[in-house]
């Protein structure tokens, strides 16, 4: 379970509920049209709520070391053999979560754990802000 500070973007994790169940429980309603619209509006406004985003320019300098693996199109992890994932253009909240999971050891990949451990929470926010701003 996640306990990152400023973790409000992650209610589903702590509850273990599906989005529908979560919204039902949170609003105390079954999803009819009106709450659905409200939920849709809420979701659209979430990026603004999660506004304690980092500094994209700082993030750009901090991803310098990442490019050795994530910067080469088609680059593969050696053992086991699979492509190093594309992280540019990925969603902000998910990137923060993924990097935090490596930092805490909840995701096992050894080199990514080492990367995560070397990053502060501010670094993670800056990097996620920069990466999520990228387009193909």
């Amino acid at each position: 379970m996640r306990t990152v500070a400023g973790d409000e973007g992650w209610p589903l994790y702590s509850t273990g509920l599906t989005p529908e169940k979560f919204n039902q429980r949170r609003t105390g309603t079954k999803m009819t049209r009106a709450p659905l619209l409200a939920a849709a509006l809420l979701i659209t406004s979430l990026p603004c709520l999660a506004a304690e985003k980092g500094d994209a320019a700082a993030g750009k300098t901090k991803v310098y070391t990442c490019a050795g693996c994530h910067g080469i199109p088609g680059w593969k992890n050696p053992y086991p053999n699979y492509h190093v994932p594309k992280v540019g253009g990925q969603n902000y909240d998910y990137l923060v979560a993924a990097l935090t999971e490596y930092k805490k050891g909840e995701r096992a990949h050894p080199t990514m754990r080492a990367q995560g451990e070397s990053l502060s929470e501010q670094d993670i926010r800056d990097i996620a802000t920069y990466l999520s701003s990228l387009t193909p």
């Binding site: 973007g9 992650w10 589903l12 994790y13 273990g16 599906t18 989005p19 979701i43 979430l46 990026p47 999660a50 750009k60 300098t61 991803v63 310098y64 990442c66 490019a67 994530h70 910067g71 080469i72 199109p73 680059w75 086991p80 053999n81 699979y82 492509h83 190093v84 994932p85 594309k86 992280v87 540019g88 253009g89 990925q90 969603n91 902000y92 909240d93 998910y94 979560a97 993924a98 909840e106 995701r107 096992a108 999520s132 990228l134 387009t135 193909p136």
Partner: protein, 116 residues
């Protein structure tokens, strides 16, 4: 006959070189992807930022992630639930489907770091 065999070989090789044909049945994967769309988006480009975008991600990375959720090596209560419903064949197919989707917003960091 020799020429025919040669051209057949070339066609086979060419088909193998095309990633879409290399692995997985995209149509079968599409059918399996219906429950996934609620979170990961109908186009695989999850609009809700808490969910990862899958469209255009490498198929072998997606497969690996799904296997890790299934074994519990990667821990996430939501995805563990979905991954356990998938057979090995489903994992390969659904990964091929998401990897094949057009309009991917994902990119690697080529030319995207300071100094490039």
């Amino acid at each position: 006959m020799k020429r025919f065999t040669a051209s057949l070989l070339i066609t086979t090789l060419a088909a193998c070189a095309t990633p879409a044909f290399a692995k997985g049945d995209i149509e079968a994967g599409k059918a399996k992807s219906v429950p996934c769309q609620a979170c990961h988006g109908a186009d695989g480009n999850a609009a809700d930022p808490q969910y990862p975008r899958l469209a255009g991600q490498y198929h072998d990375y997606l497969e690996r992630a799904l296997r890790e959720y299934k074994t519990g090596e990667r821990k996430n209560p939501i995805m563990a639930g979905f991954a356990t419903t998938l057979s090995e064949e489903d994992i390969v197919n659904v990964s091929a489907y998401f990897a094949s989707l057009p309009g991917s917003k994902l990119t690697d960091l080529h030319d995207k770091v300071q100094g490039d």
